[in-house]
Structures are given as C-alpha cells and as structure tokens.
C-alpha cells in the first residue's frame, strides 16, 4: 500500500463527516485540522473511524492530540505501527 494511498484512505475517512467545518478536499495533507474546526469529541470519532478503516489499534503513545492534527500526521502514526507503502 503506498503512502499516498494511505493518505487517500485517511481523506476518505474524513470525507462526508461533520468532523471539520470545511471540506477535506480543500485542505492540504499538512493542513492543521484543529484550525479547520476539529473538536476534541470529533477527534474521538475520528480515532475510532481511523482504527476501523485500517483495522488497527493505536497504542497509548499515539493517543495524543498531535496524532490527528493533519492527514500527514495520521499517515505518519499509521506508518509507525506498520501501515506503510508496500515494497
């Protein structure tokens, strides 16, 4: 799975939700999602949706605000637990 595909799938998780106050399509991979309206409760929903979409359980060390701060940050966190580009 390529990193760009991972990012595309993260975007798909965000697409069509009300987690953000703007459409994810208008935001860059490194755009601050908290600045785009992501609330703490929406972060919880995002965490659960992300874990379901990738069939992973994020370890405690990644259960932090900055893990969900951008599409790029989520891809980095997923890469850290083995969801990364295939060889």
């Amino acid at each position: 799975m390529s990193v760009s595909t991972v990012r595309a799938r993260i975007r798909a998780v965000l697409k069509g939700t009300d987690y953000l106050q703007v459409d994810i399509d208008g935001l860059a991979d490194d755009a601050d999602l908290y600045a785009a309206g992501l609330s703490s409760h929406a972060t919880v929903n995002l965490m659960l949706a992300l874990e379901e979409a990738f069939d992973v359980e994020l370890p405690d060390r990644l259960l932090r605000r900055r893990t969900f701060s951008s599409v790029y940050a989520m891809a980095e966190a997923l890469a850290e637990i083995g969801v990364k580009e295939a060889a």
């Binding site: 609330s39 703490s40 409760h41 972060t43 919880v44 965490m47 659960l48 359980e57 405690d60 259960l63 932090r64 605000r65 900055r66």
Partner: protein
C-alpha cells in the same frame, strides 16, 4: 500504611465523631450540623468573592434531563461515571413478581425502566442549555453562579471521593478571551480563598478521569492544551493531594453542544471554576482538627463559625 488505609482511617475517624453519618454505601454519607456549618461557611466565602462580578444565580436540582446528558457529550467521555434514574413502570402482576423477587433476596430491578431524569455530573450542566435556549449572547457574554449536588459513580473508601457531593461553581460564557480571562481571575481568587482557610495547596495541570482508550486521547489532549488546572490540598498524604478546586476552560465544547453564540455569531467559548465544598471541609477538619472550636480564630472568622 497504604493510601487506602489512610482513606479508611480518616473516614472511620469522621464517622466516629459523627461528622459523617454512614449510609452503608461507600461514598454516600449523611452530614452533621457541624459539617454543614463548615460547608456553608465555605459557600459564603466563595459567594462573597464571586458576587463582586454580579453573576446571575441559578440553582438546579441534582437531576438533569436525560436529553441534556445525551446532548452534553458526557456519555462519550465519561460513561462510567453516569447515573440515570430508574423507576418501576410495570403492572399489578409485575409488582407482585417484583416483591416476590425482593423477598427471595434476588435482583428485583429487572422491571425498572430509565426515566427522563439523569443525575447531574457537575453543577454547571444545567447552565449551558439554559443559556443556549435564550438565543445569542450580548457583547458582555454571560456569568452564572450555580450550586448543586452532583453524582459520579466511583465508590471509594476515601471520604474525599464521595459519590454524591456538592460543587459551587461560577461559569463564564462568551468569547475565547472572556473565558480565558475568567479562568485566570479565578485561579488567583481560588488561591486567595484557600489561603484564607490556612490550608496548604499547590496548583497543577490536570485531566478529567475520562473512560477507556478514547478517554486517554481526551486526557492527553486536555493536558497538552492546559485546559484544566486543579488546586490540590494534601488531605491524606502530601504525595497524594486531593483536588479541591478546579479551573476549567472548555474551548467551544459546550458552545457547540448547546448552540451558544456570541454577539457576533461565533460559537461561544466557556470556562468554569468549581469548588468541591465537601473536599475543602474534609481538608479543614484534617488540618485544623475535628473540633471547630479549636480552629485558628482567623479561619473561623472567614467561615463565620
């Protein structure tokens, strides 16, 4: 002695002196007249400071609407602390069956159904929907003084961790600047008030005891953003001080939940300061002794005792 031993020892001492009255359930106690006089003294001292800002006074019962609990987001963050009120809604035959079950010492609660009432998890939970229902805030925002019994399901032998306890709160609703300025003002006021009780304390960043893995994310975020501070007083042991006052900034969490808008149409930010009046009372008895008549005169003067 473990911390649990210290908790039990202090609780036993309070029960033996009649300051607390056993109800056979950990965390649920009656209070003596002396205990209540101290609670009311603390309440007056907090009110005397807060009244300068002319807050609107709201007094809610210890129950909130179940719909209010649902809309507040509390079930998402702290389902393990929630208390809902149940009641019997069956027929005559259901009633007979229930009494038979009760007589056999078995679980008689099967026919209990949730009512429309939940127990207030914090004194301020009645305030946000009430303010939200009024429509857009004025430029000065809103300031509310509230006080009620709260419930949190966390049975413990620690007398400072009651299941039903009171919070005296002041709540600010308005812009981000207004909410943050309020919290800073009360951080100073809270320290002055507790100093006037001649109690040792420290202020520290804190997090709420949110539930589960999602709770770990919420707690980490709360700390990273310095949203919650606590004023901690050592009651049982210096290394395990007890939070007696909390200073909370909620960002726009309740503003969003209750569609509270500032004068310019933005989602309101909120902050609250909460005094745990029983905890402060327990700290006073611990530090100054169980006989109020022997407390330092200046402390008795402040508390009107």
């Amino acid at each position: 002695m473990t911390v649990a031993d210290l908790h039990r020892a202090y609780r036993d001492e309070l029960l033996a002196h009649g300051l607390l009255i056993s109800m056979g359930v950990d965390g649920l106690y009656g209070r003596s007249g002396t205990f209540e006089a101290v609670v009311e003294g603390i309440n007056r001292a907090v009110g005397a400071v807060g009244d300068a800002d002319r807050p609107e006074v709201m007094r809610f019962p210890p129950g909130i609407g179940k719909w209010q609990l649902e809309q507040s987001g509390y079930l998402k963050s702290s389902p393990h602390l929630v208390g809902t009120v149940h009641s019997f809604t069956g027929s005559d035959s259901d009633h007979r069956a229930m009494l038979d079950t009760l007589a056999k010492g078995e679980d008689w609660t099967a026919n209990q159904r949730t009512t429309e009432v939940a127990l207030a998890p914090a004194a301020c939970y009645g305030v946000y929907p009430a303010i939200g229902a009024r429509g857009r805030l004025g430029a000065e925002g809103a300031l509310v003084d509230c006080y009620t019994y709260c419930f949190r399901h966390e049975p413990s032998v620690d007398p400072a961790r009651m299941q039903m306890f009171r919070q005296r709160e002041h709540v600010r609703l308005g812009s981000e600047d207004q909410a943050l300025a309020f919290r800073e003002k009360w951080k100073a006021r809270g320290q002055a008030i507790v100093s006037s009780f001649a109690l040792p304390f420290e202020i520290d960043i804190a997090n709420d005891p949110f539930f589960g893995r999602t709770g770990r994310l919420l707690a980490a975020s709360q700390r990273e953003e310095s949203l919650k501070f606590e004023l901690l007083v050592p009651i049982h042991a210096t290394e395990h001080p007890t939070a007696c006052v909390s200073f909370n900034y909620h960002r726009d969490l309740f503003g969003q939940a209750w569609k509270i808008e500032t004068a310019d149409g933005a989602t309101a930010h909120t902050a609250c300061v909460g005094f745990g009046v029983e905890r402060i009372t327990l700290a006073l008895f611990k530090h100054h002794g169980l006989a109020v008549g022997r407390w330092p005169q200046k402390v008795r003067d402040v508390l009107g005792l």
